[in-house]
């Protein structure tokens, strides 16, 4: 295997870790309340612009914008839950799907208005540098964002599986009424889930801002990427999202490397359609 190929695969894994982070948020919300957030990709986009604003407008550093994106998006998630999702959750399917779809449009075109349609990037100097890992050259921002995303996704998994708050979240996901009888407030837990999911999207966005050009319409592509990852990994499964995120990252990298840059997304979408035909419950999901 040539060194270039190894480099492509490692880059793919690093990007895939970021995909895993925001997709695990989507998966968590689905697992908790069977709602798909169609605005999830636009939440990631907001995280990217938070990084941009923090760095270019407010002259802050990389240590500022990650937490800033997390806090802002956490709040947005909680607001969206209480203002919109809580009411439509038990409504007809049409309302469930259209509500977050409408939210996605508002966020996307508001960003369009504020930041214009042009692509922007973070300034080079602050986050430059490459690292030489045994002959593989990786951008420092890429390496950092990949590793941080991996740690945070693992943290999300540990939070859900090894803490009291995680047990409460899962209890509500399992049976809302039974959880209520145990003294858990389902509304608060579901709001928390939305907050966590959005914060994950926000941080992932901030991490991606260092690697990718930012534009208001990027949310749609990211949302579809998250759908693909979550379908692959099985809905509601954070470890599944992690594995699938890494796989999708590598698939994107390899198809761009072998066939050309436009096939980056095409390969993933084709894989998605094939997946729906062959194994719709996902790699790790139950049928």
């Amino acid at each position: 295997m040539s060194l270039t190929l190894v480099q492509v695969i490692v880059s793919g894994l690093l990007v895939g870790a970021v995909y895993a982070l925001f997709s695990s948020g989507l998966s968590l919300v689905w697992g908790m309340m069977n709602v798909i957030n169609f605005a999830h990709g636009d939440f990631v986009m907001l995280g990217m612009y938070t990084a941009f604003v923090a760095m270019v407008w407010l002259h802050g550093g990389p240590l500022l914008f990650g937490p800033a994106a997390a806090v802002l998006l956490f709040l947005l998630g909680v607001i969206v839950y209480y203002g919109l999702v809580r009411q439509v959750m038990r409504g007809p399917m049409l309302a469930q799907i259209l509500s977050t779809f409408g939210l996605a449009l508002v966020i996307r075109y508001a960003a369009f208005w504020v930041f214009s349609a042009n692509f922007v990037t973070l300034p080079e100097g602050a986050l430059g540098g490459t690292v030489n890992l045994a002959g593989i050259f990786l951008g420092l921002p890429q390496l950092i964002s990949g590793v941080v995303a991996l740690v945070l996704t693992a943290g999300m998994y540990l939070l859900l599986s090894h803490t009291a708050i995680g047990s409460r979240l899962l209890a509500v996901a399992e049976d809302r009424n039974a959880a209520m009888l145990m003294g858990i407030r389902p509304d608060r837990m579901q709001a928390l889930a939305w907050g966590l999911a959005s914060a994950a999207a926000g941080i992932a966005g901030a991490l991606m801002a260092a690697i990718y050009p930012i534009s208001p319409t990027i949310g749609e592509t990211l949302a579809i990427t998250a759908f693909v990852v979550v379908t692959f990994g099985g809905f509601g499964s954070v470890p599944g999202a992690l594995v699938a995120g890494l796989v999708i990252g590598v698939v994107q990298g390899l198809s761009a490397f072998w066939f050309g840059p436009i096939y980056r997304d095409v390969a993933v979408y084709v894989l998605f359609v094939l997946m729906l035909w062959v194994r719709p419950q996902g790699l790790m999901g139950r049928p």
């Binding site: 919109l84 399917m93 049409l94 509500s99 409408g102 759908f227 979408y269 998605f272």
Partner: protein, 340 residues
């Protein structure tokens, strides 16, 4: 609430309403003259056709497609493609477009209809985006630039008119056809099956409704009409590019128009188009290209508000107001219908 389910008094009133609306639609080009208004009228009808087509699947069967632009785009591209390739009149491409749309519909619907609704929504959005990227990079269909129709009308078969009025009446005819088919569907066994599926898939299946097959029927019918709407767009505008054929906003327009008017009602999409298309055209005319940003902030807000407060759309509000004027016996009839 369907027209035929109304008691006699309500049915008579609905009949007069339909008659008045038909007269108004027939007379519109005589009342509102001038290029802008004539074009606007045609665009309202075109959007009403597309939204009514979406409504068959999204409204009646309850399967929410967010990628109907796939069928619209195929419909818009084929007529201009047969012109580019063989100099044939664009309408020759319409049957090809329908055939391709049906194949694509089966490819999406067959696997996803085994699963519950959200999968279908996600699959449609992904397939639409996939096809948009492929078309944007495929030189055979004009890549990012798109395709042109005949610049000068050669024969009347080119359907290339300077005025928007011929298109207006063409679209009105097609809309009448789509609504007639929808009306018939509502009253048929298929219509009842679709409503049962929408109300609860598991329950429908346990009562012996072949759920997957009927969801597929609704998708095929919906895809075919959406494709026709796309073809009509291409005939009128004479030009198509990937974004105006396959872009996400094409799907957004269909969904919001149907949802505002009332998804799952016969005339909801038409009502939605009468309200939203002028709004879109006026803001675009007023603010230029940047206006589309503003338009879609507004559209997104409207979608959220409908799903949050009034998932039945405006027709539901209208029925409630009209319902409060009915006598007690008719109200009872109506609530019995709603429960069913």
């Amino acid at each position: 609430m369907t027209v035929e389910a109304l008691p006699r008094a309500g049915r008579r009133r609905a009949g007069w309403g339909v008659l008045a609306a038909t007269a108004a639609l027939l007379l519109y080009p005589w009342v509102f003259t001038g290029d802008f208004m004539e074009r606007l009228g045609a665009l309202v009808l075109l959007s009403a056709i597309a939204a009514s087509a979406w409504n068959i699947l999204g409204g009646f069967a309850g399967q929410i497609s967010v990628g109907h632009a796939v069928f619209y785009g195929i419909g818009a591209y084929m007529p201009l493609l047969v012109y580019q390739l063989w100099q044939l009149p664009p309408i020759v491409g319409i049957p090809f477009a329908i055939a391709i749309s049906l194949v694509v519909a089966i490819a999406i619907g067959f696997p996803t209809f085994r699963l519950l609704g959200h999968y279908f929504s996600m699959a449609t959005i992904a397939v639409a985006e996939l096809i948009r990227i492929v078309v944007s990079n495929w030189d055979f269909v004009g890549a990012a630039i798109g395709l042109m129709g005949p610049a000068v009308s050669r024969t009347v078969l080119d359907f290339s008119f300077k005025s928007s009025v011929p298109y207006y009446y063409l679209f009105l005819t097609v809309l009448a056809l789509v609504l007639a088919v929808t009306w018939h569907l509502q009253r048929s066994r298929t219509g009842y099956y679709l409503r049962a599926i929408k109300a609860g898939e598991r329950a429908a299946r346990s009562l012996g409704v072949p759920v997957r097959r009927y969801k597929l029927y609704a998708l095929l019918l919906s895809a075919a009409f959406t494709s026709v709407a796309g073809s009509l767009y291409a005939l009128m505008i004479g030009f198509i590019d990937p974004d105006s054929g396959f872009g996400i906003l094409v799907s957004v327009d269909m969904i919001i128009i149907a949802a505002l008017g009332g998804a799952g009602t016969l005339f909801g999409p038409l009502l939605g188009a009468i309200i939203l298309v002028p709004l879109r055209e006026f803001t675009n005319a007023e603010f230029g290209g940047g206006g589309s940003g503003l338009t879609y902030i507004l559209f997104g807000g409207i979608i959220m508000a409908i799903s949050r407060f009034e998932p039945g759309g405006l027709m539901e509000i209208w029925n409630r107001i009209a319902g409060s004027r009915l006598g007690p016996r008719q109200r009872r009839h109506r609530s019995a219908n709603r429960a069913a």
